[in-house]
Symmetry: C2
Subunit: 207 residues, 2 copies
């Protein structure tokens, strides 16, 4: 198909597609004439993946490129699938203070207590510590006990999620499922939590 | 305190603080001389809140301003607290296709089935539908049954979260807790899900 059809199928404007091509997020099409390229189903799929990462995951272009590279890098190495997930991690400069030091200890203790097998290189460790530190700094230290409830929920969800990943027929499929499920799962939980909170608050205030 | 101390206390660089002042995210300090302003604890707190919204929530400056305005707007009106949460909603242009139409039906059915009290104006409805549509477009339709598990988790978490919000002594405190808990809770769940997934996958692959 030509770029116009690729645009129509995916809802991505032609200038954006051209930008993704230049940025290396989308492989070049097959040139059918000096000014015309032909695109296939792999382009449709890749474009949808890029959109999910950018729109749902809020990833920058360079972060998206890094994730796609890690996915390719997984190749047939099962143990490296996690690196694609690690590349999704948020990157902020931590503000080193007592709240963050305390939060890091809480994260280590949580992992230890639950017997979770989490590599030191998993950026979610830092992400969790920073989120907890923000809570403390904002004076919501009384929300910290909720951490156990969130961890229970995460643990319960991991089981069917990993089922789904390991059920994919090959490592490439697994790597893509990890990335997709991580990013879209975050968005699902975020939306559902907001709706459940509104519902619960409305119910209580009506009483 | 002077701006240098405000910067030191919060870890926010002085140029960033000045930018937030110009952008209206931070109220002006009290002028003690034509070139010097004095800041108080409310500035420290506000700056921490802005950082949580920008760094953890990934909000843009204009989105942050909108949230802060809605928080102020809540005043003593309990029923308008939700508007602060609604302002946190993601804003993307939906790609209207069959996947999205189907996803919207799923969202309506989910809300109906669970008896959730969710206003039509809650942007989480659109956020959930778009996330589901991305899953379908990417060929992960077999992940859709996970939706019920995510909804169970969200519903379980809403109870202690609303407890915490309604336990605040005044409406301003409630509005801020809703905003903080929404944004930071997303980050907590995101990090915990990634760690729980890694742990579960590692355990299975070791077997």
């Amino acid at each position: 198909m030509r770029v116009a059809e690729l645009s129509q199928r995916t809802g991505v404007p032609i200038p954006t597609i051209k930008y993704y091509l230049r940025a290396g997020l989308l492989p070049a099409g097959e040139l059918t004439s000096p000014n015309q390229a032909h695109y296939g189903e792999t382009h449709v799929h890749r474009l949808r993946l890029v959109r999910a990462l950018v729109e749902v995951g809020g990833l920058s272009i360079s972060a998206t490129r890094a994730v796609l590279e890690k996915m390719r890098g997984a190749d047939s190495q099962l143990h490296s699938i996690g690196k694609a997930q690690f590349a999704l991690g948020p990157r902020t400069e931590p503000h080193e203070d007592a709240a963050l030091a305390d939060a890091r200890t809480r994260v280590d203790e949580l992992i230890e207590r639950r017997g979770w097998l989490v590599r030191e290189s998993n950026p979610a460790r830092a992400g969790l510590a920073e989120a907890l530190a923000h809570l403390t700094r904002l004076g919501h230290g009384d929300a910290l006990p909720l951490l156990e409830r969130y961890a229970d929920a995460a643990q319960t969800l991991a089981d069917p999620e990993v089922d789904l990943v390991l059920g994919r027929p090959n490592v490439d499929g697994m790597a893509e499922t990890v990335v997709t499920l991580t990013v879209i799962g975050d968005a699902l939980m975020s939306a559902l939590r907001r709706m459940a909170q509104e519902s619960e608050a409305t119910r209580r205030l009506a009483d």
